[in-house]
Amino acid sequence: MKMTISNLNLYYGEQQALAGVSLEIPRNRVMALIGPSGCGKSTFLRTLNRMNDLIDCVRIDGRIELDGANVYADDMDLVRLRKRVGMVFQRPNLFPMSIYENVIYGCRVHGLSDKKRLDEIVEKSLRRAALWEEVKDRLDDSAMGMSGGQQQRLCIARVLAVEPEVLLMDEPCSALDPISTMKIEELVQELKQEYTIVMVTHNMQQAARVSDYTAFFLNGKLIEHDVTDTIFTNPHDKKTEDYITGRFG
């Protein structure tokens, strides 16, 4: 297992957002997190690289391990944690800089300045993000002139540039058209050879297409998790069945 979550509880002030969540995230697999809005899936995703630490009133108990090490240990280096566990958000959040500078932003933060090395990282990251052929002749152009789908793949390239081990994706296709969505889905299939991927999605067909495992959240609880084929053909819990078949949500 790449990550192990045990009896995780999370509170926003008095409001409990996650209740007793235990889940194992297998290495080099794609896990989809599904559930209606407000069920806690994005909150859960953000606990995996401690993004919730940035919110004042959050209180967390339980345990999250990355390769057996406690993610919430007092001496955990958060910069290093977020390098190992990278995140792609719902909407592309590029910097108003060139394509090249966006890709290597994280590398510069980590102190890398060797031009030859940075050039290599840019090409490798853009190739992994299936974007190199589209932008290789305009690396110095502003990233803001790219299409939405290209921008999202550039965000993925930017995360890959710092060589993470786990990729967290929070509805990465929700702002994209169908063709761009398919490109991201194909990319996810490629990337799982090297990375562990956890993806929040509202698109049931996307979860069925791209993930190996699916976890269903409802009202802050993990209702059911299993291999995706089972969840989408024979879920055990009626609440899961009612949600994935669109009976509510």
Binding site: M204, Q205, A208, F232, T233, N234, P235, E241, I244, T245, G246, R247, F248, G249
Partner: protein, 222 residues
């Protein structure tokens, strides 16, 4: 929470109603074909043959409904099993209808086949086939896995009756030379009835899949 996708759920229910109605019609066809056979009633046989055209229209309608639901609604889980079972069960029902047609056609061509004493075993076979098909369709309509399993068990009884029928009719072939052609046709009818039993078992296995998601493998066959 308020239920969503009401129209979709309604359309799924309609598919199931159509499959059940088609099954009832096919079962009636077998029942009437057997009555026509035993009475040598060519008019009743003709009605059974005409009814087969309706079954052919019904299966196309069911298939179209299933294809549209897949294309427009992307059914999954139990909903998908309703569609998959709808496709498979309607095919078996259609074959049952074809065999009812075959029996009726023989009656129409030949009229009275043989006296009731010689038809005894075929009559038993027919009653078993009608029973199995009707129970399989009732299991489908009532989501009754136990009844579906009973249909699978009845296949053994059907096989035993078929073996007796085959033996008895084969005896007649040698002892009653003038009736050889008719007895040969009765052997065909016996085979049609045994096949109806097989289709009923197929339906029962799809009912089990529909309700439990469990596939019955060959090695598990009753």
């Amino acid at each position: 929470m308020e239920q969503t996708r009401k129209e979709y759920i309604h359309e799924l229910a309609i598919v199931q109603e159509k499959v059940a109605a088609m099954g009832d019609k096919a079962c009636t066809g077998v029942q009437l074909a057997m009555e026509a056979l035993l009475a040598g009633d060519t008019e009743l046989a003709r009605e059974v043959m005409l009814a087969d055209d309706v079954l052919d229209e019904m299966i196309v309608d069911i298939e179209d409904s299933c294809i549209l639901l897949i294309a427009k609604q992307q059914p999954i889980a139990h909903d998908l099993r309703v569609i998959a079972a709808g496709f498979k069960i309607s095919t078996d029902i259609e074959r049952i209808g074809d065999h009812a047609y075959d029996i009726a056609k023989t009656v129409q061509d030949v009229g009275v086949l043989l006296d009731n004493e010689r038809l005894k075993w075929v009559q038993l076979l027919g009653a078993c086939a009608v029973d199995m098909a009707a129970k399989a369709m009732r299991a489908y309509r009532e989501h009754d896995v136990r009844l579906a399993d009973e249909v699978r068990q009845l296949d053994k009884k059907m096989d035993a009756i078929f073996a007796h029928t085959f033996y008895a009719l084969s005896e007649f072939v040698t002892t009653e030379a003038p009736h050889q052609k008719r007895i040969t046709q009765l052997l065909f009818i016996a085979r049609f009835l045994e096949r109806i039993g097989d289709h009923a078992v197929n339906i029962a296995e799809w009912v089990i899949y529909l309700e439990t998601a469990e596939r019955i493998h060959k090695k598990d066959k009753a």
